[in-house]
Symmetry: C2
Subunit: 470 residues, 2 copies
């Protein structure tokens, strides 16, 4: 086994940008700043223009630089004034630099674009005193200042390693699709533990809920009250009432703890490289897997976080409905490739037993005789009613027992929680099972096939780094 | 609908013995008493000989008379002395009356026989003061005296009606096979409520646990402490620390409450007649019912209550094992025809899903990495391990998924709770399913076929009296 220092040295070459990239990023940022000054400083209420984010902190991972330019407005300008100014002048800035640009939406709209092959964002914020925030991004300049005031060259390297580790384990990103670790959270974790290895070592023995307070301003009991359901609480040193880790889901935090455990016991360079798509052929006996898929096309006008919120809501809606009906849902997942979304479920069976046990009232209830009369008049009565313990029971034949047919009728009759925005798409979508062409349908497209193969293997990303060498 | 008085008048003719039967029973009892005096009074320690039970109280149901002769011994004789005397002299008594006799065993052995076509029992008891009981039957003479001191001709008629009602609803008998109402309990219920109709009316609004204390000697809280799991508590007026209804199971009590409810809302003569065997043909689609049967032969040397204790223990043992493995047991039943016992289960399915979800440890447990290694090395791994919430999961292929095959291997490997005494019988028995000849096998014998048909309909006896007219 190579020494950990050797692994980290090699990993550094994967995450540290080279001179060429540094120069390109720095020049792009300078040019953007300069054109922004030109376009924005003449506007009423603009008080400052700054570079923020990982470029300002020199903590971006090789090949992943994004230049974030923040335009600071006086509060009097108001949200509408800020948005209008950013959208019109921001677009002009990028056009003047011969880049492409489009609209994005986080807490408010901003301009995203590409200049010299580098992703750039032009974001408006309000010049606000700490605690008197107007928009969600008003904290960002304070975040940049806080982190920069504590950085050393060693910590910069360790932050890049840590971000590379998270990317390699599929845990980087606070988007709803990922539910993982944001850049700022990654930086704070390394800062608070004093380095990459220390962070990974400590995290390997975490047990949820985890609470970290760099500034020592909150007690555990207060934190648990403020953020009652959060598996990871890292209160923002810039604003203690905010949880920097609010986006991290329980599963993703658990995968992170596991990744740290595995890395500690068996470190390798592999953890810093996203694993390659699963290489195995689609197994011949895929038909013995009880898969149920819903494939549909969406319009891509929605911001990804909104769309992914709807996808996850719908994914859970079907899972709950299937379980309510008596199916056992082993697991589920969703993916999106360009306009196409696939929801995929693995069930214990694709059909329910033909007959179902009906639990009636206890005999002492007023409606016990009613249950008997109703049961006897059912054309689908199979057996009963009989008494067991204090209750009445009967067995009746189901009208429909196939998961595929049930899904179709639930969608048609609106008997399942589907996001309103996706309803039409899902209605027009395809329902497929491993017995009725799901594999064929998804194998038509290489991207879908790769994701299907990964679903079939079902091995969490951090574990994949390890089992390669098991 | 006929008047309730008309129904009861007609029911009386079904339960009241006619003059011929009365004369035969009374003469048989007299002859037995006389020969018993001859055989027993010469023996040391015999202090009295008496007729007990329903004949002594004139409360037997037409055609169901049993003459119980009790031989009262001094306590000094001891159990062994009592048993030896009863078994030898008791046998001689019945032989002298040209009857057949055999040994029975309740709390201690006694002689059962048949004389002039009437069932007779010769039972030994100790002359004991109340509260200083030596054997369980020492209370019986006090029961007889207590009931007789309170009887009137009307109450005798009502007790016979009530017993007839219980017989007609399959609820009469304290044997383990039945788990229902003993003769003495039936008498006390009618006495305490003042009549048949009053008993049925009150019982129709019972809710478990039910507590009745004729003598007013026990408070509810005391009773619930003394008999913590009893659904029906009727403390013996002759011995308040004893629950006369100890044999009544929750299901049988619930069936009784239901029977009373149904009779109140829709009285008919039918309730006083055991329902005829289910008349329908065996349905053609019996194969769609997921039935699993175990048929085996027992030696009939065991007393029925012992055998039925073992049958019920084994019936539940298989049910628990099936459920533990993942089968859903809708219901089960057992029957015995001569030497043959059948245990029958209706399941949601005769086979389990091919793949099964394995729930691993939470990631923070020390053995989480072990679970991953173990899973990856399993030849039957299907998918995973993955992380969901805080836990690891995987899907593995089952080695065996058919209920029939699983049952065979559990029996062979002693992995199911079977009564020791039945183990050999069950091992040599047949395992049958609705797909593999269960119906054919049980249709060979008319008795089995009738019981199978009743199982398939699965309608509780009290309900059958009603639905005939639904």
């Amino acid at each position: 086994m190579p020494l950990i220092t050797e692994i980290l040295a090699e990993a550094s070459t994967l995450v540290e940008p080279d001179e060429r990239e540094r120069r390109l990023v720095s020049e792009t940022a300078k040019r953007l700043l300069s054109v922004c000054r030109d376009e924005f400083q003449q506007l009423e209420g603009v008080v400052d223009i700054s570079v923020e984010g990982s470029v300002a902190k020199d903590t971006w991972v090789k090949g992943k630089a994004e230049v974030d330019i923040f335009i600071h407005f006086k509060p009097e300008v108001g949200r509408q004034g800020l948005e209008a100014a950013v959208l019109s002048a921001g677009g002009r800035v990028i056009e003047r630099l011969s880049g492409r640009h489009w609209l994005r939406y986080a807490s408010h709209p901003y301009v995203e674009g590409e200049v010299s092959g580098i992703r750039v964002n032009i974001v408006g914020c309000f010049k606000a005193e700490p605690g008197r925030w107007i928009s969600a991004v008003d904290r960002t300049p304070y975040h940049t200042a806080f982190v920069n005031s504590r950085l050393t060259p060693e910590l910069r390297r360790d932050i890049r390693l840590f971000k590379g580790f998270l990317i390699g384990c599929g845990l980087y990103g606070a988007e709803i699709r990922v539910e993982g670790f944001s850049g700022y959270l990654s930086e704070l974790l390394v800062l608070s533990h004093g380095g990459f290895l220390e962070t990974v070592r400590r995290a390997s023995s975490w047990r949820m809920p985890v609470f970290i307070d760099m500034a020592g301003r909150l007690r555990l009991e207060e934190a648990l009250k403020l953020f009652p359901k959060a598996p990871l609480i890292f209160n923002d040193p810039v604003d203690p009432s905010r949880n920097v880790a609010a986006a991290v889901s329980e599963s993703k935090l658990a995968e992170f703890i596991l990744a740290c455990k595995i890395f500690n016991s068996s470190p390798s360079l592999s953890f810093f490289q996203p694993p390659k798509p699963w290489g195995k052929e689609l197994a011949a006996d895929v038909g013995s897997r009880n898969l149920l898929g819903i494939a549909f096309t969406v319009e891509r006008r929605q911001p990804p976080d909104i769309l992914w919120g709807e996808i996850k809501h719908t994914l859970r809606g079907f899972a709950r409905r299937l379980e309510k009906e008596g199916f056992q849902v082993y697991r589920c997942d969703a993916w999106q490739l360009s306009d196409e979304v696939v929801l995929l479920y693995e069930l214990s069976s694709l059909s329910l037993p033909e007959n179902v046990l009906k639990v009636g009232p206890p005999v002492w209830m007023d409606n016990s005789l009613e249950f008997i009369e109703k049961t006897m008049s059912r054309p689908n009565r199979v057996a009963g009613p009989w008494v067991e313990g204090e209750r009445l029971y009967s067995i009746v034949r189901r009208d429909e027992s196939s998961a595929e047919q049930l899904l179709r009728s639930w969608i048609k009759r609106r008997e399942v929680a589907i996001s309103k925005e996706l309803l039409n798409s899902v209605e027009r979508g395809e329902i497929l099972t491993s017995r009725t062409g799901l594999v064929e349908r998804l194998s038509r497209d290489k991207g879908h096939e790769a994701l299907l193969r990964e679903f079939l293997e079902g091995i969490a990303t951090p574990i994949r780094h390890w089992i390669k060498r098991c």
